[in-house]
């Protein structure tokens, strides 16, 4: 829609506004110029989320603990689903660590257009700033959850007999890379959903369903190794399955991800992210005409 380019001495730059061109018009320079806005939106997201709640950021603690308790009782004790010889609490917490970040980021970025109509209708700034801010502000909740996980990890490691069953080492340093891959999936898928909801509002109702189904298709409450061999290929098509299992391997030392699967999911993550950004860019340019 607009290129920014440097011209002669008259002015720093020139903005050309013209119709509809191409799929890949990502104005990286504008994104960089608005980096302060990114920081401020992250702050706004955090305040908006926690200001008027009784427990504040403690929700980031309560939610995964409650889920872990339910999973332990229902899937562990009642259904007897394997936790890969790991203490169930650690097993579920580790899966939820990744899953919660994904679910939150996916759902919030999926609503980028619908929840920012007011803002987008009144002022221009690179729209991608908004979903990127969401991905960043969700890191705070991730860090809080990671801290709880660390506490439980230490307890099980040093005070229980199960301590000998798991452990980690320098491979822990790879965890941020796995998280980055998850973020690419969440934001990419979120941007695609956001672009679709801009045209079809009813997709908004499908979002919670997608999240729920996606949870069961991801090895959060079961280890990847329990998936029958003839379905393992299908797990590689879920761009979240290998990272969740990989995170477990990195933090707890247990988990089976083969290189092919992991490579496939990394490629899918990159693809989803790029496709999401492209579709989003195309939608953002005239989104406001359809409101």
């Amino acid at each position: 829609m607009h290129d920014v380019m440097t011209t002669g001495q008259e002015s720093d730059f020139e903005i050309r506004i013209r119709p509809n061109q191409g799929w890949l018009r990502i104005d990286l320079r504008a994104l960089w110029e608005f980096r302060d806005l990114l920081a401020l939106l992250v702050r706004r997201d955090l305040v908006a989320r926690y200001q008027q709640t009784a427990l504040g950021p403690a929700w980031a603690i309560v939610q995964p603990l409650a889920m872990t308790l339910v999973f332990t009782l229902v899937f562990g004790k009642l259904a007897g689903i394997s936790t890969d010889r790991l203490p169930p609490v650690l097993f579920y917490l580790c899966g939820l660590l990744v899953w919660n970040y994904h679910a939150q980021t996916f759902q919030l970025t999926g609503g980028t257009f619908t929840s920012n109509v007011e803002l987008f209708g009144k002022v221009y700034f690179p729209r991608l700033i908004v979903p990127f801010a969401v991905a960043l502000s969700n890191l705070i909740a991730f860090v809080i959850e990671a801290a709880i996980f660390a506490i439980f990890w230490c307890y099980y490691k040093f005070f229980t007999a199960a301590g000998a069953q798991f452990g980690t080492d320098a491979r822990l340093l790879l965890a941020p890379l796995v998280l980055l891959q998850v973020a690419a999936v969440s934001v990419g898928a979120g941007l695609i959903v956001a672009s679709c909801t801009a045209k079809y509002r009813d997709l908004r109702h499908a979002l919670p369903l997608i999240v729920q189904v996606w949870l069961y298709l991801t090895p959060v409450i079961y280890p990847l190794s329990k998936v029958p061999a003839r379905w393992q290929w299908a797990m590689a098509l879920n761009p979240l399955a290998p990272p969740v299992e990989m995170m477990r391997f990195l933090l707890l030392g247990r988990g089976e991800v083969n290189a092919g699967q992991y490579f496939c999911s990394s490629a899918l993550a990159a693809f989803l992210f790029l496709a999401g950004v492209m579709i989003f860019q195309r939608t953002e340019r005239t989104f406001i005409d359809t409101v």
Partner: protein, 413 residues
Amino acid sequence: MRPIIELEGIAKRYRLGRIGATSIRDSIDRTWHRVHGKSSDGRLAKADFWALRDLSFAVNRGEMVGVIGQNGAGKSTLLKILSRITEPTRGEAVLRGRPASLLEVGTGFHPDLSGRENIFLNGAILGMRRHEIRAKFDEIVAFAEVEEFIDTPVKRYSSGMYVRLAFAVAAHLEPEILLVDEVLAVGDAAFQKKCLGKMGEVAREGRTILFVSHNMASILALCERVVLLKKGKLLGNGPTQEVVRDYLKSTIEEEIVDLEQRSDRKGDGSARLLSCKVESVDSGHFVSSSSRMKFTLAYKSDRPLRHVRFLVTIYDYNNTGIYLFDSDAVGGIPEKLPAEGVVTCATDPINLTPGRCYINLALFRGTAMADHVEQATSFDVEADEFYQTGRMPPREWVLCLLQHQWSLQEGPP
């Protein structure tokens, strides 16, 4: 030097059938019907709507240019395209300078954030860098007069404080091009004056401003040049005085509503209303809350008339009657009238809240209804300084305004 804003053949089409998000089912339904060659619910059949058609003009560095035109002329669409909120369907616009747009004040304000945080957030949304905002911070707070409350969440602000803070941030933007929509219509009169002053200052500093407004007084006060739009086309472009005069003249001419073509009329037809003209006695075209109005009716019959009674009824959009001007009740129309003539009805200040009003006209001969035209025309009441405070209740609350005084009675109740 090349112009700082240059538009060439800018056109914008809205697809009427596609306005509004749809559901997947609707979409499938429509595609199905399109394939089968018929329209599902007529929505497809509707024509496209061109909000702007081949608009070309240029603005030079340091100019302050006003954009005027009636509702639906395309003023807001123009600002939206130049602000990059939406893109044109055809044509190209070039901005040779850093732009900032002010289509609203306080965009992105978050109620839970403090005044201080909102200044930074809003400034960043409008394109300011953090260090620029920091440098201007004290000035912004002083301009808004909210020093004591700067660390209070803005949800606890009065609406006046909120608007002042929001405008203060915007007023301290330092873009090379400032695109302003009717944002001055907010706040009390004193603050509006202050904002106008600030905008004049900005223009003197050599920045370019494109200013959309309905308020001819501020257009005349601020702009050297005016662009006049009508139905998406450029109708005038020149010195403010001239174009505003042309605009007012054209709208007044248009205001004579021809009734001869109306076939949906009642009455025995022994006399007909030919046209009607609605105007504000004081301000020419614009009818505002304290305007005195004048209605001019032309009638015709095939012979001289006796005992004629003219009725002008004003309704709101709910079809609730507001006023009835009845020549029988007041007098003033002679008993004998020529076969053809013009009568006028002048009123006191109308005391109405801003909003649209509709007019029904009727002509009686004795007790027989000769002619009756429903919704002969309509007019918009604009807000003005009725209470001298810059405030008045909206049409959704009440229809009428009345001068009144409040006072405190000393001592216990």
